[in-house]
Symmetry: C2
Subunit: 224 residues, 2 copies
């Protein structure tokens, strides 16, 4: 019987590739999408399409109320401020986001009697988010093995897989392509139009477009 | 100006005492209650009463959908199984609960520019929950200082305060009494009746009643 894995699936290019990678490793897939008031529903739509394409055993979409949605430009109702390349951690940082997402994934994994959790963070083109670094991932893994009945009583070992951690965007795109990820059904833009078309100008779009260019491919996503 | 603290407030005896302790240390209080499908609303009612009594700066009640509510006897719709004293980690264990609660508290703390988080876990009468131990609390504190912009970019240090960690229940009750906690407005029972009266028989009730007895006090809560 294939081991189960919980895969955090945002609907972006990175997590869609991670889902494909987990499938290629023969895990039974449990995809977890958390809707925490991101600026657009296009991501959720893409997450559903990716989960369907991979025939996951279960796809769960949780709605999460953040303690303070005004604390991030990504969840605030106000217009997104212009990108400031080279500046410190960007305004789209959501306080403790990946800690919350991994906690929910851990809870589900323990309930499923799974020990493998996949997350599509990358530290190369990582825009400076502190919770996308290897040190954070390792610390969460240690925490998971202290926090749970499965680890403490039953001696199981949770593993947090972050297979994109050291990959630049164009390398992620190449891997995704090898695994037949439909990139048209992935959403990266922070400011999509009402039909879900990407703006082509925000940090996330710029990074994505450069990645496709360096991979020698054309981005099939729709731009506004 | 008083420093801000986020205090996890369940509405039970322990967290009500922690709220009073944080107030006695002159923090400005931000109380966080998370409604994750516990078996009764009496706890939320008590949390509101405690927050009001302490005149907190803000009390936030978040509704959280757990990935699998059937994974714990505390959140499952089925009747609670009888207590099995002396057995391993009890059926009321909720997968990764305190990891999730602390993650949400951390998110709010960072948004508030606070670094102090209080949680009412106790490892003495702790029923065996793995996420009520000192090792877990320390690991979460380390994680918080790797996970956040406030720590990584701004050099702040988050502190997770667990002032009840080494206290037996009767000692917690004594401290609470010194700080004028209204124990009538705290709820510990896993199986309250429809009017919120405690059953007097579940693990939590037994522990509570023994604590009052050892403290030489009468529990003012209403029993069914």
């Amino acid at each position: 019987m294939a081991p189960k894995a919980v895969v955090l699936l945002s609907g972006g290019l990175d997590s869609a590739t991670v889902l494909a990678m987990a499938q290629a490793q023969d895990y039974e897939l449990y995809a977890l999408t958390v809707e925490y008031g991101q600026r657009h529903s296009r991501e959720i739509h893409c997450a559903r399409a990716q989960a369907k394409a991979r025939q996951v055993a279960q796809h769960k979409v949780l709605h999460l109320e953040l303690p303070d949605s005004r604390a991030s430009a990504l969840t605030d109702a106000a217009p997104l401020p212009p990108a400031q390349p080279g500046s410190a951690i960007p305004a789209t940082y959501v306080p403790a986001r990946n800690t919350i997402l991994l906690s929910l994934a851990l809870s589900w994994a323990e309930a499923l009697e799974a020990v493998d959790i996949f997350i599509g963070v990358t530290a190369v083109d990582y825009s400076g988010y502190p919770d996308c670094r290897a040190a954070f991932i390792r610390a969460f893994e240690e925490l998971a093995n202290l926090a749970t009945k499965a680890a403490v009583q039953d001696g199981k070992k949770f593993r947090i897989h972050a297979p994109l951690l050291d990959l630049p965007k164009h390398e992620i795109i190449r891997r995704g392509r090898e695994l037949s990820v439909d990139f048209a059904m992935t959403s990266s833009c922070y400011n999509p139009d009402e039909q879900g078309g990407a703006c082509g100008q925000c940090d996330a779009c710029v990074l994505r477009l450069k990645g496709f260019q360096q991979a020698g491919l054309v981005d099939p996503a729709r731009y506004a």
